[in-house]
Amino acid sequence: MAARDWRVWALKATVAVGCALPAVSLCWRLPQAVNPVEFLTRGTGTWALAGLLATLAVSPLRQLSGWAAWLRVRRLLGLSAFAYAVAHFVLYVWLDQGLEAAAIWRDVLKRPFVTVGMAAFVLLLPLAITSTDGWMRRLKRRWGQLHQLVYPAAALAVLHYFWLVKKDLTQPLLYALALAVLLGWRVWRWGQRRR
């Protein structure tokens, strides 16, 4: 195996383990949780958000390092973030709302933090569906345009966190800061290229 291939393989393996580790950790700690439903809901939500930000970090990492292989873990990161988001969504509609469609709809309309959380989840759906090679080929240029939806999704996810916190905003602020850096980098690059 060539040295270059070995490095790509190591990157992929590390990212795969990194994506699975939070799920393992959540399951491992679950029996200790006093409020297991809350523990899982928060845990999956937090990791969905962290996964989204990690996905958004791929392009800056590639540009900074000049190593194109970073792109080869982007789909894995994005789909992992989506998997945590699905778990988060299922916990909400099932264990929080008891699968009552009317109650869920009322909650989404009435509570801004639920509204934006649900909006973020809905935005992620087409991205997950079109994440395959087949869809990439079929959509061509449109694929890139469609996947710009990850930006509003990440912004809404951060807002969701902000609006649900009772008092201490430290954690949501950290995620907002990370998102600002990741988006700011893109704006700055865009400005550089236009000049």
Partner: protein, 310 residues
């Protein structure tokens, strides 16, 4: 919730903490205590027993486990995560401890904790606790009605409200180094609420003195109000003429009112209060008006618009 949370190796395992069945059965409790006496944590807690008469005001619902009650606490003086207090309370000294009772009273007095505890016979009151966040527990508190203390100091006609103040000492309460709330924590009741027989000045739970994360050495328990009204680690009780500004009202007056009675019909601006998750249960249950104490306390609010006075 912090992303990475390592278990505290010094914390007792849940299996080491007395389960309710054992607590219920005195004989088996003693045997278990004997068998486990080598564990320092249990040996320490065994010395802190607090005898009490059972109260007819108790609910007969199943109790939450002691290990749940002591590891899931909103006590921002020791950190904002509910797992923080159990880890961080080591720095709190609960002895010596005094409680100042002052303001619109004929005989203001500073009580030593020991003297305070002797004011009235201790009762065990099993109450539902409903947190404003939407979860609840059933807890066997030990204490006596706050009214017994207030009668000692003889409130005057100007004493229309009671203000309670928690200890303010960032050295003992590391959470106070962050301006999460305006310290010290302050709470308040109307005088008729304070004098109500359900309002408990609380010194213990599960047959022992209060664990520090549960508000040692003395706290308030007002079972028909959201949990944050039941102020912990009290150092001062003040009779005042006007409704005092509480810490949560100061932090967010739109979301937290002075009364904060449990009310399934009046939602928190950001979430529903119609249901709650009883810790230990899988699906949510309906929240009861005044947390199920409507029969005893609804009369206090007759004619009041509970949407306006939330």
């Amino acid at each position: 919730m912090p992303l990475i949370h390592l278990p505290d190796p010094s914390a007792p395992l849940p299996s080491e903490i007395t389960p309710p069945e054992v607590y219920r059965d005195r004989r088996r409790f003693m045997q278990a205590g004997l068998a486990l006496a080598t564990l320092p944590w249990l040996a320490e807690s065994a010395q802190a027993g607090l005898a009490a008469q059972k109260s007819p005001l108790s609910t007969d619902e199943p109790l939450n486990k002691l290990s749940d009650i002591t590891r899931y606490n909103n006590f921002y003086e020791f950190g904002v995560d509910k797992a923080d207090p159990a880890v961080n309370v080591g720095s709190l000294r609960t002895s010596p401890w005094t409680v100042r009772v002052e303001g619109a009273v004929q005989s203001p007095r500073t009580f030593d904790l020991d003297a305070l505890m002797k004011l009235a016979p201790m009762e065990e009151r099993v109450y539902r606790l409903r947190c404003v966040e939407g979860w609840s527990m059933v807890i066997p508190w030990i204490g006596f009605p706050l009214a017994a203390l207030l009668k000692q100091v003889l409130p005057t006609a100007a004493g229309k409200f009671v203000e309670f103040v928690t200890l303010h000492d960032p050295k003992q309460m590391p959470g106070q180094r962050q301006p999460v709330l305006e310290w010290p924590y302050r709470e308040g009741l109307r005088i008729d609420e304070a004098m109500h027989p359900l309002t408990l000045l609380t010194f213990g739970l599960y047959g022992e003195v209060l664990p520090r994360q549960n508000g040692a050495p003395v706290r308030l328990v007002v079972p028909w109000k959201y949990g944050f009204k039941s102020i912990k680690s009290i150092v001062a009780i003040r009779l005042v003429e006007k409704a005092p500004l509480t810490s949560w009202m100061q932090a967010n007056p739109r979301e937290y009112g002075f009364f904060s009675n449990v009310n399934p019909e009046v939602d928190h601006p950001r979430w529903s209060q119609a249901s709650e998750r009883r810790i230990g249960e899988f699906l949510k249950r309906k929240t009861l008006m005044f947390n199920g104490y409507a029969e005893q306390v609804a009369g206090l609010y007759r004619g009041m618009d509970l949407r306006k006075f939330f």
